[in-house]
């Protein structure tokens, strides 16, 4: 089963690498947004899937990455790739003190607290005059979508590799232990604060790196576009649908969701959102732990029989 899954994953990755050679226009934009959302889902999966801290505010780090890149490119005339890297580092640097405060909250309080925090970060970023405040920031025309797409795909693959490492590492075991019971983990020697903040920092680094690419993709950024609750929610649903705290969940959830959404949109343009919502609810009722754990359980049963 492991070998089969790895073969499918490898095929998907090869297709994604080759995508810009065959696709253009709408299909290329859609592929870019899909890969972007999957990347965001991988970022979210670390703090929320592995550490169990449900965040509704990781998009703040995406916005910070986008604006940092925008400022460096538009005002300081940096080349966009180093600017996007700095955007990721800035998001991560912001996450560490923020996490120190926010990760004292638990459960719904953390979830709501992060939602509020994202709004605050958004207001603060747009209060800086250089960001053009609420009216936005124009970027010089960039390298076109191909460069942005490969950047995003590279970050996304990096996020998958990082997740694979977490899955098998001592750090990952500590995260899963504190997800199950933080107090018990602490009395078993786990330095929970440090583990949580590290996870939070990684969960901010990934959207931070992706934000810079998105700024280039849009060429014009304004608060609503980059602190996008739609992108945030979409990536969260992808991770949950695929399987929280699993290596392949965000990828599988992301591909399934995008495909369903596109097919429905093409056939039932007026009511596709309604059907899509209903289908999502049905899927989550049928597979409450997500697609990947459901498939894994089925294979485990077959092997056991």
């Amino acid at each position: 089963m492991k070998r089969g899954a790895a073969a499918i994953a490898a095929l998907v990755i090869v297709l994604l690498i080759l995508a810009p050679l065959r696709l253009n226009g709408y299909a290329m934009d859609l592929t870019y947004i899909t890969v972007l959302s999957i990347g965001l889902a991988y970022g979210w999966n670390i703090i929320s899937g592995y550490a169990g801290y449900f965040s509704f505010g990781q998009i703040a780090f995406f916005g910070v990455g986008a604006y940092a890149t925008g400022l460096l490119v538009a005002d300081l005339h940096w080349y966009w790739v180093p600017a996007a890297l700095v955007g990721g580092v800035a998001a991560c640097a912001l996450a560490i003190p923020l996490g120190y405060v926010m990760l004292r909250l638990r459960g719904p309080f953390f979830a709501m607290g992060m939602f509020g925090m994202a709004q605050m970060v958004r207001v603060l970023v747009t209060a800086i005059p250089a960001t053009g405040s609420g009216s936005g920031l124009f970027l010089p025309p960039g390298s076109g979508i191909t460069g942005v797409y490969y950047w995003t795909l590279a970050v996304c693959l990096g996020a998958i590799a990082l997740t694979m490492w977490i899955e098998g590492s001592a750090f990952g075991l500590r995260l899963r232990a504190l997800r199950e019971d933080e107090q018990v983990a602490a009395t078993l020697g786990v330095e929970t604060t440090r583990a949580k903040i590290t996870a939070f920092g990684l969960s901010a680094l990934i959207p931070g790196l992706l934000g810079g690419g998105y700024a280039l993709f849009l060429t014009y950024i304004e608060p609503d576009a980059v602190f996008s609750s739609r992108l945030d929610l979409q990536s969260i649903v992808m991770a949950i649908l695929g399987g929280l705290g699993t290596v392949w969940g965000p990828l599988v959830g992301g591909l399934v969701m995008t495909q369903i959404s596109e097919v429905l949109w093409a056939r039932f343009p007026e009511i596709y959102l309604m059907i899509f919502g209903g289908l999502l609810v049905a899927l989550l009722i049928a597979l409450p732990r997500g697609i990947v754990p459901a498939i894994a359980a089925r294979f485990a049963r077959r092997r056991g029989a």
């Binding site: 098998g168 232990a177 078993l188």
Partner: protein
């Protein structure tokens, strides 16, 4: 005489208006089994929470191996050599039995592979090897109790705090657990066993007994002395007869 391994000194804890612990002191020596007995609500779990760093006392100090540990984070206390179990078992349900134990083993292991190897040995030692790779949520209560002890042992502690490890066990299982604690003691691991009932076992395994009642230490001594202590009989040992249960 050498310094005690653990010295609890004049510890007090209040929850709102309830005085959970009042000026409690006790000592545990290397390899000693101290039974901490007292009726439900006497403050046993609160004392364990203070020693393991989960709860900061309002007053008093705790010395472990010569160091004052009040105010230390729980993980630091765990790494220093104090391990505990929980009265209401708290396994990491979605983790395998081995991984439950490996979390503690990480403290001494150089890699996760080594931690899992160490964990497997401990899982075998407590007799759970058949279930090693199953999720902990699939274990029965008795097995979960053993898992609690296995996780604690993975820290290679010098002191084990056992919170009601006998509760919910059948008489045969209790004997097994008692043997287990005695074996640990022979290996030099001290234990504080918080026990509400089962005096038969308390008398058999403990070197010394401290009796708590309503947050106060009302007696201390060897098993024979405690059995004869009128205050203990009144507060505790005699009570079940009086209540008729």
């Amino acid at each position: 005489m050498s310094d005690p391994l653990l010295a609890v000194e004049n510890v007090s804890v209040a929850f709102g208006g309830v005085q959970a612990l009042s000026d409690v002191s006790l000592e545990v020596r290397n390899g000693e089994i101290l039974a901490l007995i007292g009726p439900n609500g006497a403050g046993k779990t609160t004392l364990f929470n203070v020693i393991s760093g989960v709860l900061r006392p309002d007053a008093g100090q705790v010395h472990f191996a010569g160091r004052a540990i009040v105010g230390w984070a729980p993980h630091r206390i765990a790494r220093a050599g104090i391990a505990r179990t929980y009265q209401i078992v708290r396994p990491f349900g979605r983790l395998s039995v081995v991984d439950n134990v490996a979390v503690g083993a990480l403290v001494h292991a150089r890699s996760i592979g080594q931690a899992r190897n160490d964990a497997r040995d401990i899982v075998t030692f407590v007799g759970l090897e058949t279930y090693a790779d199953r999720p902990a949520s699939s274990l029965t209560l008795t097995q979960r109790k053993r898992l609690e002890v296995a996780r604690a042992l993975a820290l290679r502690p010098r002191l084990l705090l056992l919170d009601e490890v006998m509760a919910g066990l059948t008489p045969t299982e209790m004997d097994g657990m008692a043997e287990f604690v005695l074996r640990l003691s022979e290996r030099g691991i001290a234990a504080v066993a918080g026990i509400e009932h089962v005096m038969r076992l308390v008398m058999r395994i403990s070197h010394r007994i401290v009796v708590l009642d309503a947050g106060r230490r009302i007696a201390e001594g060897d098993p024979a002395a405690i059995q004869a202590d009128p205050a203990v009989i009144e507060a505790y040992l005699g009570a079940p007869l009086g209540r008729g249960d």
